[in-house]
Structures are given as structure tokens and as C-alpha cells.
Amino acid sequence: MEAVIKTEHLTKKFGTFVACSDLTFEVQKGEIFGFLGANGAGKTTAMRMLCGLSLPSSGQATIAGFDVYKQTEQIKKNIGYMSQKFSLYEDLTVAENIRFYAGIYGLSIRDIKDKTAELLDKLGMQAEAKKLVGQLPLGWKQKLAFSVSLAHSPKIVFLDEPTGGVDPVTRRQFWDLIYYAADAGVTVFVTTHYMDEAEYCNRVSIMVDGVIEALDSPKNLKQQYEAKTMEDVFYKLARKAKRAEI
């Protein structure tokens, strides 16, 4: 197995506040890696450092073999990102959004066409291709955003609470898309608050107050903490949190 995300003692401080402390972990190629933690535990900050959006205060990290300090532009070519905030253009149509993002990642006009057809087909959204994204229901938007983040065939995709506010059926469909991507060799790094989703991950880390408290497969974690579900594991760990929400 090859590690596509590698961090060593990765730390981010905002003034005296330590948002992420001493994060050390590895994520393997094709893995679905769940990144759990209560609100304010430091998940988003960690993810932003890995995507090259935020400069670490100390520690090391490489993404797809590239250094997060010096090679952020190479990292960006190899990753997809879907932020907590919905970030497609609501005043552009579905097809225009795909075209735009595929275009700035450097796909040729021909590839863009093929990719658009493929994505719409996979999502079953051919009929909506010319609809403004703003008119779509939230679940569809999220599935679209995920697909757009994969349009340039990245090695790793980072998903920051991709299913927040989405109904259970659509969430299920969303996870089908995640599995589909992972099967194709894409590494999926995902944060979530839904513990049923945590069960779907190959491995899960749980962050408490900026520190990774536990990291293992859901099965092993449940054994280790003598819990029936991931929800129980999460309660046992997250209860220790002292930090208020940021």
C-alpha cells in the first residue's frame, strides 16, 4: 500500500489558540478515511492545511507526495475539495459549472464534453443540465458538487461535511458515489457528524480539542472502547472535550 497523505506533528496555531496539535497519521491510496470530531475540534482547520488553503504553524505533511509548504500548486492539481459551504455558482447551470471547473483544471474542450456527459449520466441529471444550480434541491447540489470535485480525476478528494442537512435517502446515494470513487482508486478524506456514515469508512480518526484521540477501523474502535456503535465510541471520546465551539 502506498500512503497518499502523510502528516508528522502537523500543528496550527491562531495566536495562542492551538487549533490542531501534533497531528500524525497516514492515509492509504483508495482508502475512505473518516475524520470525526465535535464542532470546533479542529477538523476543518486540519483539512484546510492539507489542501494548501492554510499554512501550518509547524510539522510536516505531504499530499500525493508533494510538500504542503512548498508545493501547494502541485497539490492542488492532484486533489478535489468540497467545502462545508456550498461552492458551485448558483447563477450558472449544471453544465456550465462542470465546464468551468473542468476548464480551469486544464481539461480540453473535448474532455470537458465527455466528462460532462459522463457526470450527468452517473448522477441521472441529464434533464437538469440546463437548469440553474440555484434551483436544485440541496441533496442534488451536494451530489453535483462532489462530482465536480472529481471532474479532473484527482488522486485525493477532501469532503468537509458533505452530507450536512441532506435527507437519509440522498445521503445513502451520496455514499454510493463515494464508494464508486474509492473503487476507482481515489482516496476519500471525509468529515462527518453522522455516526452511521462513520461505520462506512475504512478507518476513522476522532479529534478532540485539536488532538487525534483515536484512529483505527470502526470495528477495532468499537472493540477497544467496548461500544456497540460508533456513536457510543464518539460519546466516550467527545465528552472529554473542554473547548467551546469556535
Partner: protein, 372 residues
């Protein structure tokens, strides 16, 4: 470079899709350009005049008819005494009182000396100054004529005064519109340019799409160029519409060449849009941008030389004005419009605008970070 193409495509699609905004951007400046020059007018016409005539002679009648015939004044009252006239000033019904003393004609003829009393309501400085000035010059004329009629012909030679024959270069008839219309057009372009350039980027910050852009490998200079170019196009079109409106409504047509004018416009937009962009890199929300832009627009417009002469500003104000592109472009526009100045005549302002543009744009690119 390819990414720039896709960015521009997206920006133009979004621009044409917001029909309401596009309409406002075109119609609002046209309406303003039509109305504002008529309203923002320096030549004072309707000065309310109250007259107190204690003399009731033929000479005093002549003076009064000469004053009222000038077209600057409106006779609002004919008062019996000064108190009555002062009351009119207090109630804001009169701006000026002309008091003609008793035995005005008699003293003028016999003693060759006579004093008139003029009182001015000076709350509105410009109006008072101009009104007093008009009245003084009319009385001066009247005085010369009166001397010719009353004094012996032999004395005329002695009393001959210096007569002034002013020639108004570049604006022979002191057509106020030639001066104000290009200025107002520049002001409108300034407002639209700064606001649109600043808001566009901040809007992406607010709705969160900037985050998605920042994780793409797009180079920030292309991203910024993609943001600015559509507004170059938009501003040039609005400017052209403005020129057309100026010609149709005010018959303002440049003496100089359109080539020079558009080259200057390009230099100006480079500086102006760079400034708008700079503001956007310093704000996180549209509200913040609004406050910043409002502050700067006020300063820029007030100090741009649109209404007041830059030459009479204190030294520090001249330096501040020179650091912003607006005053340079207003001066350039007036030079081209009225004098027919060529590129080499306006080269100082041109280079100043380019220089300011390099500073603003460079600063904005440095300050825009894909990573925090």
C-alpha cells in the same frame, strides 16, 4: 492562459444573467448624466432682489430697470424702508437688498458723488459672492453711463477708465456644460468601476465560491485578470454611451481625438479597477466593501477637481489628489474635450495614471492570498 478563457466565459455569463444589475448599470448613469449637469450649475440666475428706493427719481428708476433687465435678478419686493427689506432676507425671500438713498439723483449730478447701500444674504457663499459681483458690475456700468450724460464732454478724457476686454480661450462663451459634463461622466465611471470591481470579488468570498477557486491550481494573476477584464469592457461601453448622451443632450463634442480619449480611458480604468480590487482584498463582506468604497468615493469626488479648482487647494491636498487617478483623468478629459490636447500634451497625466495603476494592481495581487 486557458484558465483565463474559462474564467472570462464564466464572468460574462454571470454578468449577462443578472439582467437587473445590467439594466441599473446602464440606465442609472444615463439618467444621472442627463439630469446632474442641469442641477449642478454654477451660473447664478435667479437671485431674489429687494429694492428700497428713497429717491423715486428718474435716475433711480433707470438704475432699477438696468439691474432687473440683466437677467440675473428677480425683483421680489419694492420696499418702503430698509427694515421691511431686512425682514424679507430673514425669511429667506430675498438674497440681496439694493437701497437707493434720498436725493440720489441730486447728489450724483451736483456733487458728483453718491453712495449706494447693498446688503447680501451670505448664507450661500457662492450665490452671495456672485450676486454681489453681478450687482457691482451693473452699478459700475451705470456709473460710467451716468458720467457720460451728466458730466461736461471736456471732462470725459480725464475720467476715462481702463476698459477690460476679456477673451475666453477654449470656452469662448463660458458654456458651463463643456466644463461640467465631462467631469460628471468621469465621476459616474469612477463610481461604477470601483463598486463593481470591488463587489464582484467580495461576493465570491461571501458565498464561499472563492474557497473552491483557491483549491484549484489557477494562478492568482489570471484569476484577478479574469475578474477585471469584464469590467474594462463594461466601463468602456458605459463611457461610450455617456459620450453619446453628452453630445445629444448638451452638444458637448470633443475638440481633440477619440483615440487620445480612449487611450486615456484605458490608463484610467487600469488604475481605477486596480483600486476597486485592492479594496476587495481588504474586505470580507459586501457591507465592509460598501463602507470602504463609500468613504473613498466621497474623498475622490470632492477632491477630484470636478467642482473646485485643484490649483487653489492647499499643498497637502494637491499631493493627496495627485495620488488618486480621478483628478488626472478629469483634467485629461477636459484638455481633450475643450483644448483638443494630443497624447503628448496629456502624457504627464497618462503616465501618472499608469504608475498609480501599477501600484494599486500590484498591491492587490500581493494582498490577495490563496492561502491564509
Amino acid at each position: 492562459m486557458r484558465s483565463l478563457y474559462f474564467l472570462l466565459e464564466k464572468e460574462f455569463k454571470q454578468m449577462f444573467r443578472s439582467k437587473g444589475l445590467l439594466r441599473t448599470l446602464f440606465i442609472a448613469p444615463v439618467i444621472q448624466l442627463i439630469l446632474m449637469p442641469m442641477a449642478a450649475n454654477y451660473s447664478v440666475k435667479n437671485i431674489s432682489l429687494a429694492i428700497v428706493d428713497h429717491d423715486h427719481s428718474s435716475v433711480s428708476q433707470k438704475l432699477i430697470s438696468k439691474v432687473t433687465a440683466s437677467g440675473h435678478f428677480q425683483l421680489v419686493a419694492y420696499c418702503n424702508n430698509n427694515n421691511e427689506a431686512l425682514e424679507l432676507i430673514e425669511h429667506d425671500k430675498a438674497d440681496l437688498i439694493l437701497e437707493i438713498p434720498n436725493k440720489f439723483e441730486q447728489n450724483l449730478v451736483r456733487e458728483n458723488v453718491q453712495k449706494l447701500n447693498v446688503q447680501i444674504n451670505a448664507i450661500e457663499g457662492v450665490k452671495a459672492g456672485l450676486g454681489g459681483g453681478y450687482l457691482a458690475s451693473i452699478i459700475g456700468d451705470f456709473n460710467t453711463e451716468a458720467r457720460i450724460r451728466t458730466v461736461q464732454p471736456a471732462h470725459i478724457q480725464q475720467g476715462a477708465a481702463i476698459s477690460i476686454m476679456p477673451v475666453n480661450w477654449y470656452n469662448q462663451f463660458l458654456n458651463y456644460y463643456l466644463f461640467i459634463v465631462p467631469g460628471i461622466l468621469v465621476n459616474l465611471i469612477t463610481g461604477i468601476g470601483i463598486m463593481q470591481a470591488a463587489f464582484n470579488l467580495v461576493k465570491e468570498k461571501e458565498i464561499g465560491t472563492i474557497e473552491q477557486i483557491n483549491v484549484t491550481p489557477i494562478k492568482k494573476q489570471y484569476f484577478i485578470l479574469g475578474k477585471l477584464l469584464p469590467f474594462y469592457a463594461l466601463s468602456i461601453i458605459i463611457f461610450t454611451v455617456g459620450l453619446l448622451v453628452s453630445y445629444v443632450f448638451y452638444n458637448v463634442f470633443p475638440v481633440g481625438s477619440f483615440g487620445t480619449m480612449y487611450v486615456s480611458l484605458f490608463a484610467y480604468l487600469f488604475a481605477l479597477l486596480g483600486f476597486g480590487l485592492l479594496l476587495s482584498t481588504y474586505s470580507e463582506t459586501q457591507q465592509q466593501t460598501m463602507s470602504l468604497a463609500f468613504f473613498f468615493l466621497n474623498v475622490l469626488n470632492m477632491m477630484s477637481g470636478l467642482f473646485t479648482s485643484i490649483d487653489s487647494m492647499p499643498q497637502w491636498a494637491k499631493v493627496v489628489t495627485g495620488c488618486f487617478p480621478v483628478s488626472h483623468f478629469i483634467q485629461t478629459m477636459r484638455m481633450i474635450m475643450l483644448k483638443g490636447s494630443t497624447l503628448s500634451d496629456v502624457s504627464f497625466h497618462l503616465w501618472a495614471m499608469v504608475g498609480i495603476g501599477i501600484v494599486f494592481n500590484g498591491w492587490a495581487v500581493l494582498n490577495y492570498r490563496k492561502r491564509s
